[in-house]
């Protein structure tokens, strides 16, 4: 008797349909291979919000009884494979509930696998992925973060490639033939997608990670209140009003101490303080009240609370003053304003480096104009991608235009 458990860590809404398809694909493949399986989401992450990290799970077992045993829990405490379809999550996960920051590999069993889609090298990813007290494998599918979970579906075969890779990682549970058969039968399946799964199986690169490797930072955590410590009438202590910054000038709002947005972001604003005209618009229009008002009248985006929406960049009237940059370009959450104040030339070099990279400043999620996804798919075709012919009824904009 044996069973296999896997989690899919994904971004709420952006990748919700994608994660559900991966987990369903695992179960359907397991059935093709004569096994039993179940797919489910973690309740605490629902109702989902754009960008908030969330998890789905799939369990496969040899027998129905064994599957039932493994289902009798709220969520698995350990998994054989952690699948992550957005490498900006390699910094860890703050989901809805009381977790603090969960390293991406926290539930991965010793010698288990973290399977990611990423264009980064293992060495770069390991700057973010926290150290673990047991060795594990890092398997990579070369691809940028998929946003194929959106309403208007951007078909990019990510689910098929993940399933193909899983067949390589867990051959005892999912054979490649079973995976391809399941893909073809699923409502999102096609010959082409099965071909993508085969390709991923052949080309999957995996490398062992030693206990000495990885980000040495201690993940952010806090004490959960005990039930007897909670206040009468389920009342929650209000957040205190903020206070001025140094010298009684400026203003720093107090912030919710338990829910940080370190990993809700896929991008973050980088600010050229020399270009700022102090118009206040970023501060006023930020839905997350991120900005500290500095004593010199500048606005410093606090990285504890920034979710990376990009509204500040959209409203800033000064040219090239706020630039959103992909989260994987950063190693810490330090204050940009303090860095600027300490050493302006050094800040300019740092900032110039961050905003220069085309790869880092192009946003790739959300619907911006009609035909956007078709254009992006064409672009990736021009770069040697696979042609996509099979649309998904009700999900593909092309299929919907009569």
């Amino acid at each position: 008797m044996a069973h296999f458990t896997c989690e899919v860590v994904y971004r709420g809404i952006f990748q919700k349909n994608l994660a559900a398809r991966i987990c369903r694909g695992i179960v359907l493949s397991a059935r093709k291979a004569g096994r039993w399986g179940i797919a489910f989401g973690r309740y605490g992450d629902s109702p989902q919000r754009n960008g908030i990290p969330a998890k789905d799970f799939a369990i496969v077992a040899d027998t129905q009884e064994e599957l039932e045993q493994n289902m009798a829990r709220y969520e698995p405490k350990e998994v054989d494979v952690t699948i992550c379809v957005d490498d900006t999550l390699s910094k860890g996960v703050e989901s809805w509930a009381w977790y603090g920051l969960q390293p991406i590999n926290r539930l991965t069993v010793p010698n288990g696998t973290v399977l990611m889609t990423s264009l980064q090298s293992p060495a770069d990813l390991l700057k973010d992925i926290h150290k673990k007290e047991a060795p594990y494998n890092l398997a990579l599918i070369p691809a940028k973060a998929s946003f194929s979970g959106l309403w208007v579906y951007k078909e990019d075969h990510t689910e098929a490639r993940i399933l193909g890779a899983l067949a390589k990682i867990q051959p005892g549970f999912l054979s490649l033939d079973a995976v391809c058969a399941a893909i073809q039968e699923a409502e999102w399946g096609s010959e082409l997608k099965a071909a993508s799964a085969r390709k991923a199986f052949e080309r999957l690169e995996s490398r062992p990670v030693k206990i000495t490797e990885g980000n040495a930072e201690t993940p952010f955590s806090f004490e959960k209140p005990k039930w007897w410590e909670m206040r009468e009438g389920v009342s929650i202590p209000a957040i205190p009003i903020g206070k001025p910054m140094e010298g009684g000038k400026g203003y720093v709002p107090e912030r919710n101490p338990y829910f940080k947005k370190f990993t809700t972001r896929t991008m973050r604003p980088v600010i050229d303080f020399d270009k700022c005209v102090k118009c206040t618009l970023c501060w006023l229009q930020c839905p997350d009240s991120c900005f500290d008002v500095t004593p010199d009248g500048l606005y410093d985006a606090n990285m504890e609370s920034c979710c990376g929406c990009g509204v500040c960049e959209a409203v800033c009237p000064a040219k090239d003053c706020v630039t959103m940059v992909r989260e994987d370009a950063f190693e810490d959450n330090a204050s940009q304003w303090e860095m600027w104040r300490r050493d302006k030339p050094a800040y300019m070099t740092w900032m110039g480096d961050k905003i220069a990279s085309k790869q880092h400043v192009v946003r790739s999620h959300g619907f911006r104009f009609r035909g956007q996804y078709e254009e992006e798919i064409k672009q990736s075709l021009d770069q040697g991608g696979t042609e996509i012919t099979a649309g998904i009824p009700g999900e593909n904009a092309v299929g919907k235009q009569r």
């Binding site: 709420g12 109702p47 989902q48 919000r49 754009n50 960008g51 908030i52 809805w96 509930a97 959106l150 309403w151 208007v152 209140p225 909670m230 929650i236 202590p237 209000a238 957040i239 205190p240 009003i241 903020g242 203003y251 709002p253 919710n256 101490p257 338990y258 829910f259 940080k260 947005k261 809700t264 206040t280 006023l284 229009q285 839905p287 997350d288 009240s289 991120c290 606090n302 504890e304 609370s305 979710c307 990376g308 929406c309 990009g310 509204v311 959209a314 409203v315 959103m324 999620h365 959300g366 619907f367 911006r368 104009f369 009609r370 009824p393 009700g394 299929g399 919907k400 235009q401 009569r402």
Partner: protein, 335 residues
């Protein structure tokens, strides 16, 4: 004996320009809304305008669930959760309760702002009756703010009476056989409430893309005394399916295309304001396609659908008794 405030209110002068806006936040970071959630911004601006002596009551919806779960909160001012259809009852009950306590000398007599908020599901649909009742009680000061993200967003985007024509929601997914499932025109909530409650002192429509104007409408509603209502249009990246960075721009487009007119009804007098005023005075409206085609929920629209939408909006402006507000037309002479 404690002084009784009949309809005394706080003095809240309008902010004269963006630099004069209160620096303090009374709704701060750490809520769990989506990236680019305009409704969270509405909450922040709403209490920034109201100031510290304010009680906020919130009906179930995104702004409750995403704001206050797992024993955490972004609220600095006192806040209480009320049931999905109860924003009206909660506003009235709280205002009456405060008044009674002050009258009995159990608390200091002072004007305290009472704001209840609800989503469009909770306001335009379920709680409409209670809101209507509250707006007839002229002796109690309260503001009900309906943040309209045009769906039951929290429970994953079901269509509400406020969902626009043709939009893709979980209850109206476009299919191959029928392209449009939702073919009803959006409810005209603010105007309906203004028209039907002659003693309601103030009804206004706002959009947080015009933050200072929006805060000044909140200040006016709170300082005028009696029951008041504000309807705010909130772009919602999750339900409308667009890149979160476009939230601000979509709010502007809704106004500039004439889809969501900005106006206020103060003691029965209608006034258009902001960009809408310019439109009424003859400035051209942008075509609605600029607004619609930036949103995934309309990605299935054909030219024909866009034309229909445009024609309906044109009608609001060209044929209504009060452009964009009151959908009545005069009967032709002799009929």
């Amino acid at each position: 004996m404690a002084e009784v405030f009949a309809n005394a209110t706080q003095i809240l002068e309008p902010f004269r320009g963006v630099k004069k806006v209160t620096i303090e936040e009374y709704f701060t970071s750490g809520h769990r809304t989506c990236q680019g959630c305009e409704s969270a911004l509405v909450m922040k601006l709403m209490v920034k305008a109201a100031g510290p002596r304010t009680i906020v009551l919130g009906a179930t919806g995104c702004m409750y669930v995403a704001n206050t779960t797992y024993y955490t909160t972004p609220w600095v001012v006192p806040w209480m959760h009320t049931q999905l259809g109860s924003s009206g009852s909660a506003a009235l009950g709280t205002a009456a309760g405060l008044k009674a306590l002050m009258k009995k000398g159990k608390m200091k007599s002072e004007p305290i702002n009472v704001i209840a908020f609800c989503g469009d599901g909770g306001g335009a649909d379920m709680g409409l009756g209670a809101i209507s009742a509250t707006l007839t009680h002229k002796e109690y000061n309260s503001l009900i703010l309906m943040y309209d993200n045009e769906s039951y967003a929290n429970t994953d985007i079901q269509l509400s009476g406020s969902t626009p024509y043709g939009a893709n929601t979980t209850f109206s997914p476009p299919g191959k056989v029928r392209r449009l499932i939702h073919t009803r025109w959006k409810k005209n909530t603010a105007a309906m409430l203004a028209a039907g409650h002659t003693e309601c002192r103030y009804v206004g429509t706002v959009c947080a893309s015009y933050a200072v104007e929006m805060m000044n409408k909140v200040r006016k509603a709170l300082s005028i005394g009696g029951p008041t209502f504000i309807h705010s249009l909130d772009p919602c990246p999750k339900g409308w399916d667009y890149d979160p960075m476009l939230s601000h721009e979509l709010g502007e487009l809704a106004v500039e295309c004439g889809v969501f007119p900005l106006y206020e009804v103060e003691d029965g007098v209608v006034r258009h304001y902001g960009k809408t005023k310019a439109i009424v005075e003859g400035r051209p409206r942008k075509p609605v396609r600029e607004y619609l085609l930036k949103q995934g929920r309309f990605a299935h629209f054909t030219e024909e659908d866009l034309e229909y939408f445009q024609a309906k909006v044109d009608e609001m402006w060209n044929e209504w008794e009060i452009p964009g507000v009151i959908p009545f037309k005069k009967a032709p002479a002799g009929k």
